[in-house]
Symmetry: C2
């Protein structure tokens, strides 16, 4: 048999239709300079044979692949899967195929993913770098001018534009909000303090605390539910038990919430809770959880825009390389619910 899945080739179509292969090519590319009759006839043959162009052959001719890559830590994480969803939609609307790969925040799989995408000759990529100066990434950047945009976390000194939430500002706002409520012993609960986003949020928290002459207290021991429960138990039994907890990410907020529930700690009366990142049931649990929300849709959209701009540039014969060093910070916003002490008569749907 001719080829592995019996898919007909362009020249087979040409032969059956009794035309030259160039004509078929013109037809599948929009039909410029093809007579209407030929067009119709060829289309019919294509239909009958079930012909689907071979992307590999097109790519080989040196043209763009109409494919972009998205590299995220995990596709199961709600934040990243929402980003992926948004980007997928934009890509499709622009006739691009999106290939998503996951890194688990692991520099090694990141390199693997990157290479897989380069082998595919994607036209560009959007990436959540595992590390601010990701070794594999930087090495790669030196030898290619692949259009690229970072999201969620910037890549330093790379000339790669990035779109991130204003994490520090968001965390600061959250902390200030807690302070306004009158809480004084606010602890910042977190894990993965090596990640850019987490560090920024810690900074924002610290800034607000210091500005209020309060003592910032960090507990960096969060890894999973168990460690969170332990951390909270220790905090509650410590000499200066906190009256509020600021959790730096989604999952941490949930773990903390569950632990507080388990220990029968009244929220917000005994301990208030404030989270970073909104999640579907934050408004449904009791008490509902106040959070800083990131504009996921906007992040995805702006990243896509930046990438498309680069794609344009590289098409226009390396003309103006466009201002690239920009790092766009998008605004977060505070969603007051019950866990911080705000009553929220309106927020419930």
């Amino acid at each position: 048999m001719a080829n592995k899945s019996l898919l007909p080739t362009l020249s087979q179509v040409a032969r059956v239709a009794g035309v030259g292969s160039a004509t078929v090519s013109r037809v599948i590319n929009g039909g410029e300079r093809v007579s209407p009759e030929t067009m119709v006839h060829v289309l019919r043959v294509i239909q009958k044979l079930g012909y689907v162009p071979n992307q590999a052959a097109r790519t080989l001719k040196g043209h763009r692949t109409k494919t972009i890559g998205l590299v995220v830590p995990s596709t199961a994480d709600p934040f990243f899967s929402s980003c992926a969803e948004v980007i997928q939609q934009i890509a499709r609307a622009n006739g691009l195929l999106l290939i998503v790969t996951a890194t688990d925040n692991n520099a090694e799989s990141e390199v693997d993913s990157l290479n897989a995408l380069i082998r595919q000759r994607v036209d560009g990529m959007i990436i959540v770098p595992s590390n601010a100066r990701s070794p594999g990434l930087c090495g790669l950047l030196e030898r290619t001018n692949m259009p690229m945009v970072a999201i969620d976390r910037p890549i330093r000194n790379s000339g790669i534009p990035s779109v991130v939430a204003d994490n520090a500002k968001g965390a600061q706002t959250a902390t200030e909000h807690l302070i306004e409520h009158g809480y004084e012993r606010i602890v910042c609960l977190t894990g993965e303090s090596n990640l850019y986003t987490i560090r920024e949020r810690m900074n924002g928290y610290r800034k607000a605390m210091e500005a209020a002459n309060l003592n910032p207290v960090f507990d960096l021991s969060v890894k999973d539910y168990k460690s969170t429960e332990l951390a909270i138990k220790n905090l509650l039994h410590g000499s200066k038990a906190p009256d509020a907890i600021f959790a730096t990410k989604n999952q941490t907020t949930i773990y903390a919430f569950e632990a507080l529930l388990k220990f029968n700690v009244a929220m917000p009366r005994t301990v208030a809770l404030f989270g970073f990142d909104d999640f579907e049931l934050a408004s449904t649990v009791r008490p509902s959880i106040s959070v800083i929300a990131q504009p996921v849709e906007e992040i995805g959209r702006r990243a896509a825009e930046l990438l498309f701009a680069q794609l344009e540039d590289s098409r226009n014969e390396e003309s103006a390389p466009a201002p690239k060093n920009q790092i766009i910070k998008v605004k977060t916003h505070l969603i007051p619910r019950s866990s911080c002490g705000c009553s929220d008569p309106l927020s419930y749907r």
Copy 2:
């Protein structure tokens, strides 16, 4: 410049290394029949030039692309993104690239997705068919022998193996459980009753009700939160208000829960709630929500296994086409929590 992203080609590597292109090819394919010195030398040049093989050229030579496709309704849905995560891991472990596309349960985008994947010449695909006899899909199946596996929903009369949860059995078990609790006016709340999974769950519910000589009552009006709230309001104010609600999917369960909370209906005292599909916070909300859980990991794994088996087959010169018509039903399991009337002292973490 030679090619769009300045990526060197195999023959450039060969020239720089002072060897023939075949040698470079052998090196990047494992180095069979290449002297250690040549090997090392070529690898060094590859490294220096930052050479990455062009997948398109390889594909064009007619070999497998080492790429598989996954077509799901949405990548934001927790159930499907979990499946995607599992499959992604398995694919990577087997050196395959996974391309995920979304259909929004829309037959048209399904055809688009399918075509995009075929253009990429994926070696095979795993698909959640938008429709049991998806027109685009069936047409496509007639003219290709693309290795394929369906998950979540089977494709009828197609010879395509599928891996689905035993939805009917699960729903039946859930309903029986409610009946054992003594509930008698159990209504099945749902939307999208055209989907295979939903219909199966409705059937299971009906079967259990009829076996107990109870009257099955369906409310198919669920579309979004608003419609759910309305449905519940009507049910509560109806002549025979239900004493239990069986929700046929994740999102419906959540909406129902929120509406019941809003109306201050005591769960499970006044109305019990039981959902199909587990979700992260089902155990955290109060009352915690009892559900039927699907073995996501198993579904992903078995689908991958089935696909790999087909990939093997098609490599071994179309030998034994393997028994294909199978439809594997995996067991669901019941997670008793509070919303059905079970107290769950142990389940809370």
